[in-house]
Symmetry: C2
Subunit: 249 residues, 2 copies
DNA sequence: CGGTTCATTGAAGCTCATCAAACCCCGTGG
DNA sequence: CCACGGGGTTTGATGAGCTTCAATGAACCG
């Protein structure tokens, strides 16, 4: 039996995949490819013919605006799946590219959908992945819309720490971090210059240092406080009820 | 046969629902309820037991941040569905509330999922709806992250015009518009004061006037130009390929 | 080495936030 | 009928946060 894809390993923590489902996914995997930094795998407006699991390296989902500027919607790290997740044929609503050299598993979308039809748990796994992606997008909107630069940055670092931890790529001390300040700027809706100043402020606050290819977490409590971080959106466990004005109609 | 829900009417433009699917949806509809402005129907962190179709009135998806400020993620207009869309049990990752008096069709999530199991086209309809919601979220990230206040506002107006047009609530002259400037501010990541000044600028540019319960579109070409608006994300028809650095590996 | 990419810092300016006040519309009650 | 109050809108004044432009430095690499 082939080595399990990192997607299988990770998603199994959320949805109980049986032997059958794991086998199906492994047999589906047409091939493993490598890619260079900057290479696009999914292009805005074009049909999506494949699904990809990032096995190694980082990528991003992004959109370009008319004047050429880029908005990164989310980063993609090992274990993440990108690509078609439903049977409705449509154009990609965003592009996906590699930010570092990458190694990906490729799945033809047709056979993927085929398989999902037969294995309800596999469908559940993809639904889970889709919901999680959406939750991260929501978080990004709140970030960019209502939080300051330093809060956004701290929030992003904590999100990445959590996600990388799930696949064994982060621990309490930090994680390897291949992104440039420009990529951070494009993700956070800031300029490179301001990202640089923000990183300096974070460093001077003794919470975290970012640079030289690594995030070094100095004081995670401070970081959580700066970010107002609540990690529950990353796994969706029901929380205690909050105050509300729901009516008992 | 009962009058078709506005959701059925609208979604049929995207996915061909047969008699069977329409019947199923109509029979599922447990009841129609009314709600007051400010009333919550889905609460962040709580389980989602029902799906709702907005038949009349406006709502919003939103999140609150620690200090009490609100970020509106998207507006909900007649014909829109909100609520659970998959079988994975999880907590709501955002809240949904009414912004005006509303009238909603309520669907118990259990029987909804049941029905979706049996009718693949119904599942496709919900998948389509989910993807469309996600596309709008992406657009909002690009808006808030990379566009100026006036561009965001113009963009939002055009998106709403398009969506309301699908259910016959907007034409070339404009549409009825019940939102306050504060709601606009919460959606666009701005303050009320700045929204007010932005609306004045839009009015003075002779593109659109917003107020007194109505959006009056004066010159839609100007508006499209200001917004850099491309409506394709609202229906997902494959577009002509753009320049890219995709490799033909 | 010379070239390229990325990080860093300074100076100046613009967008947008904040604080404050006035105004308008409209419904309510004295 | 008018005073009152409240939600929403509008405007001014001031300042913070972020952008822009520009220049330098550090690291890497063919």
């Amino acid at each position: 039996m082939a080595e399990a894809s990192s997607f299988v390993r990770r998603i199994t923590t959320a949805v109980l995949l049986g032997h059958q489902e794991r086998e199906a996914l492994n047999s589906l995997r047409a091939k493993t490819i490598t890619g260079r930094a900057g290479q696009d795998f999914i292009l805005y407006g074009e049909p999506v013919d494949y699904g990809y699991v990032f096995e190694r390296g980082w990528g991003c989902r992004y959109r370009l605006v008319e004047d050429g500027r880029r908005q990164i919607l989310n980063f993609v790290v090992p274990g993440d799946y990108v690509g078609a997740s439903g049977s409705v044929i449509q154009a990609a609503d965003h592009s996906v590219s590699a930010l570092t050299p990458v190694e990906l598993s490729v799945f033809p979308v047709a056979s993927l959908m085929d398989c999902v039809e037969r294995l309800p748990r596999l469908r559940a796994a993809f639904e889970w992945s889709t919901r999680r992606d959406q939750a991260m997008l929501l978080e990004r909107i709140v970030d960019i819309g209502r939080r300051s630069a330093i809060e956004r940055m701290a929030h992003l670092i904590l999100e990445l720490r959590h996600r990388l931890g799930l696949v064994g790529l982060a621990d309490d001390s930090g994680f390897d971090f291949p992104l440039t300040q420009e990529m951070l700027a494009d993700a956070l809706g800031l300029t490179v210059v301001h990202v640089n100043r923000t990183l300096r402020r974070l460093r001077e606050s003794d919470a975290v240092t970012i640079g030289s290819g690594r995030v070094r977490i100095v004081n995670i409590d401070d970081l959580v406080r700066i970010a107002d971080f609540d990690e529950s959106y990353l796994h969706h466990i029901p929380l205690p009820a909050k105050t509300s004005n729901r009516l008992t109609s």
